[in-house]
């Protein structure tokens, strides 16, 4: 079973947090702090696994963003890596060449996608098509502001180009 998933930037800024078991704010903050310091301290060509208390920490860096998954000790590390990768693929499919900014500005979408893929710490759907379809279907229900936001999102992406150049240049995550 998975316990949590965290996304954070190279600077240690949290971009997304998903807790599959209920936990107090204090515990959450402690874990977030530990994870960011531990993962960011790793040498570049190290393996993607760490032991932390009774959990296995599996992390992977995509461009400027770290995906960090905490799984219970009997889980398969390689499977956890696949889960991270699958999530990145799903994000990529949804946002189209996803970058950190997409997740910052549409963080609720990132959560919705995650909720269709994982649930309660288990994999809910292994098929990419089915996940995509259910997200699209829910988005259709969310009539009003969706198209609005989508347009805005692209606007943001381009307006801030000069400001957030670092993030935008590292768009091609999956090539990493």
């Amino acid at each position: 079973m998975m316990r949590f998933m965290l996304l954070f930037s190279r600077q240690g800024k949290l971009r997304l947090q998903k807790w599959f078991t209920s936990m107090s704010e204090r515990e959450k903050k402690k874990i977030i702090r530990d994870m960011t310091t531990m993962v960011l301290a790793r040498q570049p060509r190290s393996c993607n696994f760490m032991q932390w208390k009774d959990l296995k920490i599996v992390y992977k860096r995509y461009a400027s963003l770290y995906f960090c998954l905490g799984v219970e000790s009997q889980e398969n590390e390689l499977l956890a890596l696949e889960i991270i990768h699958r999530y990145v693929e799903l994000l990529d499919k949804y946002f189209g060449n996803v970058c950190e900014l997409d997740i910052i500005f549409n963080f609720e979408k990132a959560y919705f996608i995650l909720d269709e893929f994982l649930m309660g710490g288990e994999i809910q759907e292994t098929s990419k098509q089915i996940v995509n379809r259910s997200i699209e279907a829910s988005d259709m229900l969310q009539e009003v502001r969706f198209t609005d936001m989508h347009a805005q999102m692209h606007l943001v992406k381009h307006c801030d180009l000069h400001l957030w150049c670092e993030h935008v240049t590292s768009v091609a995550w999956l090539s990493v």
């Binding site: 107090s24 696994f49 309660g120």
Partner: protein, 1123 residues
């Protein structure tokens, strides 16, 4: 102006949305907190509006702020409001916010039950989906109980989208409300065969999770999963199924056999590393059964793991090492052959890989390679950059060396030098660890003290080198040990004055207080030794100079801010001043001064105190003085500080109370102590009184036997020991060979106790310093700790789910959602069956018939276990009273380390099988407690091995197939395979068992030694005189002889004794001369010619195996020396 107002209200209308907030935060990097606090104010305004769109927007922003670490719990009610919006757009945001912000203690969750129930039954599947997703994050026991039925219904929803979510959330419900498991399980099982693969995989996930916590309940699903495994092509699902099987196989060995084939196929065929890894892991986990198929698949796994470790991908390397460490537990040999690879991994750039490799090393050391491995590690210590990794290395080195009572260390000089080398590490946190090792070794290995003291003296002398920054540096803890060792064993010091000088340097004052205190105290010990040395001389000035130095230097410590240092220093200073005075009067004081520190420290087993008998007439429970009454002590004590203290204890109190009164008081006090939570209760064992304990001399004490003389070479480097050790071993080997040759030349087989020289094996490496370290009983607390589950989370679930048996039909009372009461303990019977199956097959199953529980209640919880033994005699032998043999069984028996529990047993060769020896042991429970779960284990040697049931590891114990109520005895037989029978052997073993009283049960351990004498390999075989003569004539037999002096018994007694103890039969007897015969289990003929004249008995013996003969004769000699 008006325009402004309009604009403001429009702003309000189109308040900042999430994007604006994010951008705003990014644009206010300098004053982010201030900006956010204004934003929160705005959000509060927005939440006050009635417009749900505005509220949803506000909640969405709050969710973002929550992620940034701001507290938003105050808006919990608003979140619920947004959740209950009828529009999916807002509902989605509400549930998202709830799933991020709510936790079990959020009180508004109570308000959501009905809303969630409504959403669950919504016609729109996405409403339901969103509710389920949200619920999975914040489900509480109350919600689980109230909604379990609704969710269960959803498991059969028409839409697979809902079904799979419902299945997954069911797991969370089970965790929070375990009573729901039984009613929901049939439906969950159905979902394994759901037409939708998503639902199917969800069900597999949930059952896999459940089975991990309590596999027994899910064994019946194995065939279904087997079908799924062979048919599924989805790797995600396959991995889960294989994991599930991994949990089931320990319960059902047949399953393991069946799985081998599909698993090996997968290992061969799959290209997905995750699947391969899972298969390998499962095969490894199923290693306890050693069928041919398993050995093959095991080899395949090790081979695959090697490939993984050699891979350039760091991830695979890491996982390969991780899996190797699992193999190490069951098959250390197969890992040891990859030592090269693992040592290579120590050089890896990646720290986690290095750490994994280190873990593996721990289990790989042997006497032979310890020095080599530690040498490698020392090189790494020097190279290591990060202090954390270096500290890890340091602890590992110490762990590796000190494991199981320094089992693998053959040369303690080497170990001390390693420890000294480790002190050169800068900035390590583990100074205290090194220090405690130094102390431990110096105290327990007497032979090493001279060397250790020399080393420590050098350390003290160079203290400035090793502590750059004294206060913060953890390494200075080492000086604590150094000072103590130099002080305590100061008689070994070469130059005590110099060391004393080093201990009193002004720089010492910069050390931490507790270390200074030890310095001061040990300076005094040292001073005493020096005085003793110097007073022998005619010149008394040297002694006076030393006193003067003490008097000069000590005031520095008298001024110390540390109380302990100050107190000791001023005490000792006064003492030295007084001594000086006496010295000036030419009074000899050395004897008296050293008497201050007289007495030797002996290491004592932790529980040794219990073995000391309480002297007669001493009642530890009786008061020496009448205890002051409750009120007196409560009221008067605080006052006493201010008023004149009443001399309570000197007040004469005649305690002439009668026995009854005393007993009554004792009882009352016990009662009071039991009820007082602050009173540390004595463990039941601490009150043991051993009547039979012979006395103090039975306190187990470390015995040291030194086989090589020690030299103190200047400042040794540990490296040179590796060389020395190699030389030593070579020499030993050469000597052994020489002896062997000699033996052959002289055709004498008398004293040779060495093994046949063959390739050098682990057993052959004799340690340079033999340390017989007492194997102590584990403190009970420690054992309990081991059993404790690592995570409280796991623990809780275990208690909950394991109580339910899924095979039982559903009772009406268990229907959801009514709170039902559960029936626990039902699966227990099957657990017992499982145990029985694991038990040894060759042993008779004597079961519960003997389990008559003793109902006698004895308040003294003294448990004495005595293992008595008896001897079986060969059928032709003398039928004699087993009682008498019990006392005479001493040739066979070795007494235990502990005086009381002793075991006597019979060791007998098996005539049918030349390599088998049967050991019958009678276990007699002399205690008043119930003994159960007895496990008999013997440390195998190269030559003799305990036969264990198929599938158990080489270190597993055998379950004794019965339990022992108080006073009952029973016999168990154990079969050993023995290769060579020409030598006597001692096997060490342990018996572990659980002692059960009415109110407590403790785990106990008995150590014993089994002595396989050569006699026990002999079997009484009758022989006719003509056959005997032919045998002697054949000339194949080597002869040997022995003379026994001072045997004062009739000849027929003597013969009977030989027959009786050594399994011989008399062939012929003529006057004071008799020929005797016996045969070993491997068919060696042993012939004796016994003659007696007066008190001298001469035995001429012939045998085709000289070594065996020599040993048998030795044993005969011993038998007679004892009478």
């Amino acid at each position: 102006m008006a325009l402004k107002i309009v604009k403001g209200s429009i702003d309000r209308m189109f308040d900042k949305n999430l994007q604006d907030l994010v951008r705003g935060i990014r644009n206010h990097k300098e004053d982010e907190a201030k900006y956010i606090s204004t934003c929160i104010d705005e959000i509060k305004q927005e939440l006050k509006q009635d417009n749900i769109a505005v509220k949803a927007n506000a909640v969405c922003k709050l969710t973002y702020l929550q992620m940034l670490g701001y507290d938003v719990s105050w808006a919990a009610f608003n979140i619920v409001e947004v959740m209950s919006s009828s529009k999916f757009t807002y509902k989605r945001i509400g549930y998202l916010a709830a799933s991020q912000c709510f936790h079990e203690n959020t009180d508004v969750i109570m308000l959501t039950t009905n809303q969630i129930r409504k959403d669950l039954s919504s016609p729109n599947q996405y409403d339901t989906g969103v509710a389920l997703t949200g619920l999975s994050c914040f489900v509480t026991p109350d919600l689980a109980r109230d909604l379990a039925n609704d969710i269960m219904t959803l498991m059969s929803h028409t839409k697979p989208y809902i079904r799979k979510k419902a299945v997954l959330i069911m797991y969370k419900v089970f965790l929070k409300y375990p009573e729901s498991l039984r009613p929901a399980f049939p439906r969950l099982k159905e979902k394994l065969e759901d037409p939708d693969p998503g639902v199917q995989s969800a069900a597999v996930n949930v059952i896999c999770e459940l089975a991990r916590r309590n596999p027994k309940n899910y064994l019946s699903l194995a065939p279904l999963f087997f079908k799924l495994m062979t048919s599924s092509t989805n790797n995600w699902v396959l991995i889960k199924i294989i994991k599930l099987f991994g949990a089931l196989t320990p319960l059902e060995p047949r399953l393991g056999k069946k799985l081998i084939e599909p698993l090996t196929n997968l290992i061969h065929s799959t290209s997905a590393m995750s699947l391969l890894y899972e298969c390998v892991n499962t095969v490894i986990a199923g290693q306890y059964s050693c069928s041919v198929g398993h050995i093959k698949s095991h080899l395949l796994c090790v081979q695959k793991l090697r490939i993984l470790i050699e891979d350039s991908d760091q991830n695979l390397k890491y996982l390969g090492l991780l899996a190797m460490s699992k193999i190490l537990k069951t098959h250390p040999k197969s890992v040891q052959s990859h030592k090269d690879l693992i040592l290579q991994c120590l050089d890896d750039k990646d720290e986690s890989i290095r750490l994994r490799a280190l873990d593996l090393l721990y289990g790989m050391v042997s006497k032979k390679n310890l020095m080599e491995i530690v040498k490698k590690l020392m090189i790494h210590v020097d190279k290591a950059e990060g202090t954390t990794y270096r500290d890890e290395l340091l602890t590992k080195i110490i762990d590796i060396c000190s494991q199981s009572n320094y089992q693998y260390i053959t040369n303690f000089e080497w170990y001390i030098s390693i420890l000294v080398e480790l002190t050169r590490l800068e900035g390590t946190r583990h100074g205290h660890l090194i220090a405690s090792q130094m102390l431990d070794v110096a105290i327990r290995v007497k032979a090493i003290r001279v060397f250790a003291v020399a080393q420590m003296a050098t350390l003290l002398d160079n203290a400035h080198l090793l502590t750059g920054n004294m206060q913060r540096n953890g390494i200075c803890e080492v000086l604590y040990a150094a000072a103590w060792i130099c002080g305590e064993f100061s008689e070994h010091l070469e130059n005590p004055v110099q060391t004393l000088e080093a201990m009193l340097r002004p720089k010492v004052a910069t050390l931490p207080g507790h270390i200074q205190a030890v310095y001061v105290q040990n300076a005094a010990k040292l001073f005493a030794t020096i005085l003793k040395n110097q007073e022998g001389n005619t010149d008394s000035t040297a002694a006076q100079e030393t006193s003067q130095m003490m008097i000069d230097r000590l005031p520095l410590f008298v001024q110390s801010a540390n109380l302990e240092v100050q107190e000791r220093a001023s005490c000792i200073l006064q003492l030295v001043k007084y001594i000086q005075k006496l010295q000036q009067k030419d009074v000899e004081v050395a004897e008296e001064v050293s008497a201050l520190f007289a007495g030797e420290l002996n290491p004592v087993a932790p529980k040794a105190q219990k073995k000391v008998p309480v002297p007669e007439g001493l009642d530890l429970d009786a008061w020496i003085n009448e205890p002051p009454s409750e009120s007196e002590s409560e009221d008067e004590q605080p006052k006493a500080i201010f008023t004149k203290e009443e001399p309570k204890h000197s007040r004469p109190r005649h305690t002439e109370v009668d026995e009854k009164e005393l007993a009554r008081r004792r009882e009352a006090r016990k009662q009071e102590q039991a009820n007082n939570p602050f009173y540390i209760k004595a463990s039941p064992s601490s009150q043991k009184v051993y009547q039979e304990a012979p006395g103090v001399e039975h306190i187990p004490v470390v015995q040291i036997d030194l086989s090589v003389p020690l030299k103190v070479p200047g400042l040794p480097m540990s490296d040179q020991y590796v060389k020395l050790e190699e030389e030593r071993r070579q020499k030993e080997r050469a000597e052994k060979k020489k002896k062997e040759k000699k033996k052959r030349k002289e055709k004498r087989s008398g004293r040779g106790k060495k093994h046949d020289s063959g390739p050098e094996s682990e057993e052959d490496i004799t340690p340079a310093h033999v340390v017989d370290i007492v194997t102590e009983e584990m403190p009970e607390v420690a054992q309990e700790d081991q059993n404790r589950l690592p995570s409280p989370y796991l623990c809780r679930v275990k208690v909950c789910i394991c109580m339910f048996c899924l095979c039982r039909p559903l009772a009406d009372s268990e229907k959801l959602p009514v709170r039902s009461h559960r029936a626990a303990g039902a699966p227990k019977s099957s657990a017992e069956d499982g145990e029985a199956e694991n038990a040894t097959p060759q042993e008779p199953k004597k079961k519960s018939s003997k389990e008559k529980r003793d109902k006698k209640k004895d308040k003294e919880r003294d448990r004495k276990v005595r293992l008595r033994c008896w001897k079986h005699f060969p059928p032709s032998g003398h039928k004699s009273d087993s009682r008498s043999t019990q006392s005479e069984g001493r040739t066979v028996v070795t007494f235990l380390v502990f005086p009381l529990p002793r075991k006597v047993c019979d060791i007998q060769g098996n005539l049918q099988d030349g390599s088998q020896v049967v050991v019958s042991v009678i276990f007699e429970n002399k205690s008043d407690s119930f003994l159960k779960s007895m496990e008999f284990n013997v440390l195998d040697s190269l030559n003799s091995k305990l036969q264990r049931p198929e599938g158990s590891g080489p270190h597993d114990g055998l379950t004794v197939p019965f339990q022992l109520p108080p006073g009952v005895s029973n016999e168990a037989r154990f079969v050993f395979t023995v290769q060579s029978i020409v030598m006597p052997q001692k096997l060490k073993g342990t018996l572990t068992f659980i002692v059960k009283n009415e109110d407590s049960s403790t785990h106990e351990k008995l150590d014993f030694k089994l002595h396989f004498t050569c006699t026990s390999y002999l079997i009484t075989t009758p022989c006719y005189s003509d056959a005997f003569a032919k045998l002697l004539e054949s000339g194949d037999l080597k002869s040997s002889s022995v003379r026994l002096e001072g045997v004062n018994m009739p000849f027929h007694h003597l013969l009977a004794r030989i027959c009786f103890h050594h399994h011989f039969s008399v062939v012929e007897r003529i006057d004071s001369c008799a020929s005797m015969y016996s045969r070993s289990i491997q068919g060696h003929h042993v012939c004796l010619l016994v003659k007696t004249s007066g008190q001298t008995v001469s035995i001429d013996a012939k045998c085709d195996e000289p070594t065996l003969l020599g040993n048998v004769l030795d044993e005969i000699k011993q038998t007679f020396s004892q009478c």
